[in-house]
């Protein structure tokens, strides 16, 4: 799927939760949102972008993907 678009969408989610003063809670918010609403192939693609250097990803998003990779990355097909 279009990686650039997914990064844009994920950044917008991160921007919402970034307003949460407690950083850990913010990251958890982003992770849980992506887990609850994103179909596995979207999450898989997001990690492809992440592994390719996370181009264009906001700091909150980068931190979330690093911290919550285990729950967010779907099982291999």
């Amino acid at each position: 799927m279009d990686g650039k678009k997914l990064v844009k969408m994920a950044n917008e989610i991160a921007a919402f939760f970034a307003a949460e003063p407690d950083r850990r809670a913010a990251l958890e918010g982003v992770a849980s949102h992506v887990k609850r609403f994103w179909e596995p192939r979207m999450r898989r693609e997001l990690f492809v972008c992440f592994d390719a250097g996370g181009d264009g990803m906001s700091p909150v998003l980068l931190e979330t993907l690093a911290a919550h990779r285990a729950t967010l990355e779907p099982a291999k097909k």
């Binding site: 844009k8 917008e12 949102h33 609403f37 179909e39």
Partner: protein, 969 residues
Amino acid sequence: MRGLANREPGPRQTMYSNKVIDHGTPARTAPATVSLQIDGVTVTVPVGTSVMRAAVEAGRKVPKLCATDSLEAFGSCRLCLVEIEGRRGYPASCTTPCEPGMKVKTQSKKLADLRRGVMELYISDHPLDCLTCPANGNCELQDMAGVVGLREVRYGYEGENHLVQAKDASNPYFTFDATKCIVCSRCVRACEEVQGTFALTVQGRGFDSKIASGPTNFLDSECVSCGACVQACPTATLMEKSIAEQGQPDRVVDTTCAYCGVGCSFRAEMKGNDVVRMVPHKDGKANHGHSCVKGRFAWGYATHPDRVKKPMIRSKITDPWREVTWDEAIAYAASEIRRIQGKYGVASVGGITSSRCTNEETYLVQKLVRAAFGNNNVDTCARVCHSPTGYGLKTTLGESAGTQDFDSVDDTDCVIVIGANPTDAHPVFASRMKRRLRGDTSRPGAGLIVIDPRRIDLVRTPHVEADFHLQLQPGTNVAVLNALAHVVVTEGLAKDDYVRERCDLGDFAKWKAFIALPKNSPEALEKVTGVPAASIRGAARLYATAKNGAIYYGLGVTEHSQGSTTVMGIANLAMVTGNIGRPGVGVNPLRGQNNVQGSCDMGSFPHELPGYRHVSDPAVRALFGTAWGVPIQDEPGLRIPNMFDAAIDGSFKALYVQGEDIAQSDPDTRHVQHALESLECLIVQDIFVNETAKYAHVFLPGSSFLEKDGTFTNAERRINRVRKVMPPLAGLGDWEATMALAKALGYPMHYDHPSQIMDEIARLTPTFTGVSYEKLDRLGSIQWPCNDKAPEGTPVMHEQEFVRGKGKFVITDYVATPERTSQRFPLILTTGRILSQYNVGAQTRRTQNTAWHAADVLEIHPHDAEQRGIQDGDAVSVVSRKGDTTLRAVLSERMQPGVVYTTFHHPESGANVVTTENSDWATNCPEYKVTAVQVVAHAKKSEWQREFDDFADRQESLLPKGALKGEAR
């Protein structure tokens, strides 16, 4: 006695007399009562009840002409005279309130003479052509002549009279025949009191008085063709053309309008299998006997010649369609789905449920996807309208639905309307709201705050004027809501007790610290929102200090990149002012299509099973897995925009779309077209060959709301019955077609009637446990939750506590949309809709509603127009980063300079060719409301429009000859 008198006799479908009991004057609701005697019968009625109404409750009927129970009494015809012991003269029973101990006589020699005299005068100026009159058999004047025993008319017709006036037939649906008018002014009062439009007046006095509609005729007047005056008229003066053409009906079936989220109840008046008239139902709890032009008159599309009656298939979209049997079409569709899943994987197929279909049908489609397709790739068109409502209200309050019933507006003292245009999009509710805003003799009108970039009608309409119109820049809703909440919190207007008792205090403390930040003050945000800080402060004070404050909102809230944030901002504002949990307050999403609420309730979202329960919850999966006999996937599926992306990407190959037109309604048309072209199998089920069907491989003819049984759930969570009045034109109801497809996929479903589907929903969904067709027939309608705790449903939610326990305040930081104006695209385009057309227009364009709106136009401020050398009526090109399209310009000061506006009712207008792929961060609900554009004078159709024409021509030539005409263009 009282209750009984209200009920109409007989079962719901019966040999028909269309004489509904008319009590003459409206019911009163005062708790105190008075007792009196009418013709020796004692009755007890609420204080303020008229003698006329009390008489009906005592089983007596006083003759009347100018009174009817939808309107306040007026007392002009003098036919309803009675005698009251101890009073002089003969008072009019309609205008005389009951008093304790009154002794009333409704009949005497003297009264009979007086009444005959009154009738004689009326009849002496009335053409006596009853036998050929369309009202024959349903005319109150005729009835009254009979009732009073009029036998001769002494005054001749020689003198001056009104018998030679021309008929006004300008309205497409009804005529005004002044020769039959008795100037009872019921129509004038209906237009004022019921509809709130004030289009009619009584001109002149005495003998010269006549009813006038604007300067020339009905069509050119302010009239919105709601039909209230036609309904109120006691004679043939205001008469439906359909009745004039077809005669009076012979049976009636109660059902529900299939247009907007108000969900009006109607009586479908039938002759054989033909509808001759739709009449709003007096007992309908959403509409109380009122309607709008769509439900009342625009049902002709259901039998339009464009209706497809036979299934069709083709292997490529460049092939001609082949008409086939249902069996062949279903077998082909099923084999394609299985072939594609074999080749590309289980997750390569999905389905879209429809907000225009019934709850039962929607439930079946999502069940088909989850159980027979074996994945969670199911979504619904609510994705593109109210998905942020679901997310935002569930997060803050705990339930994905509005908090009130419509009647609640009667108890409100301050209304906020944000991003909604009720007089156009939810007309019947708007009439209710306007009534409350006008106030009456007992109460002043409620305060009104309109938050909208456009000056919508509600800002100033007869006897209603907004206290504040916060005319914000499109895309800054969150900033305005934050500023309002900032004022509430920093000026000490918060309801601390309420918050302490009912909300999560940890979240509240964080939110309070955030909202009090100087960056959220009205002054700081003025530059962003364009709204003067003083107006924000004034509005915040008005809402926060009202006894009951209610917020109503629509797609102008949800269809933004911060749609979900705005919904949560609204919930924050309502909670901090203590405005949730009783009549008169609340957070009220006005839903677009008739069954948006229902389709969401029924598990149409890819992450939620029916009743808004997440697929990751093992207990919920086990419940459905056991009931359906298959395991349920634990990961969310694709949402509609994700399906498009996956289709272009090559991992999504087949889609079953029931009753939706994604090719027209979804944003960024070229992207959608590309996605649809990438599919190997597109199955479209619809009543017309819509835009999406032009990309389809299988076409299954759908059934209209007149052709099946089921339920719709309106914006107030009210479940209303839809009843079959004629057999499906193509042989199968939509639910039956879905069942056939499931069976062909090796997953047979066993239902003989939609009521059994509802029984299954009730078994599996805690908020629906108490719902059944039997109960719906008994109560008329039910607002969910309906279960042991609330056996007759729940008009107001969150009464004792929030559904989620403690209300959750959410930090709503304002984030500007990525869509910015620039030198190349200096204007903001926002979109909406109008009264006479509905959504993509597939239905209303096939009715005479086109008399009011034949084409989509671009509204532009005269200042912006002048700068560009554009005159009213010019063809202009609207260009965005995404594409361009050509429309006619209409100069309008409803827009502020810098903002232009259009609708999307006609496919060739291509409004969505210009809209972008930006969407709500939480739900991917598209941002229809903000697109940066340039507008230039330009007479030619755009490239897209020329391609559209070619493609439409080509597709039309591929349709079977003579079978149907294809999409009207």
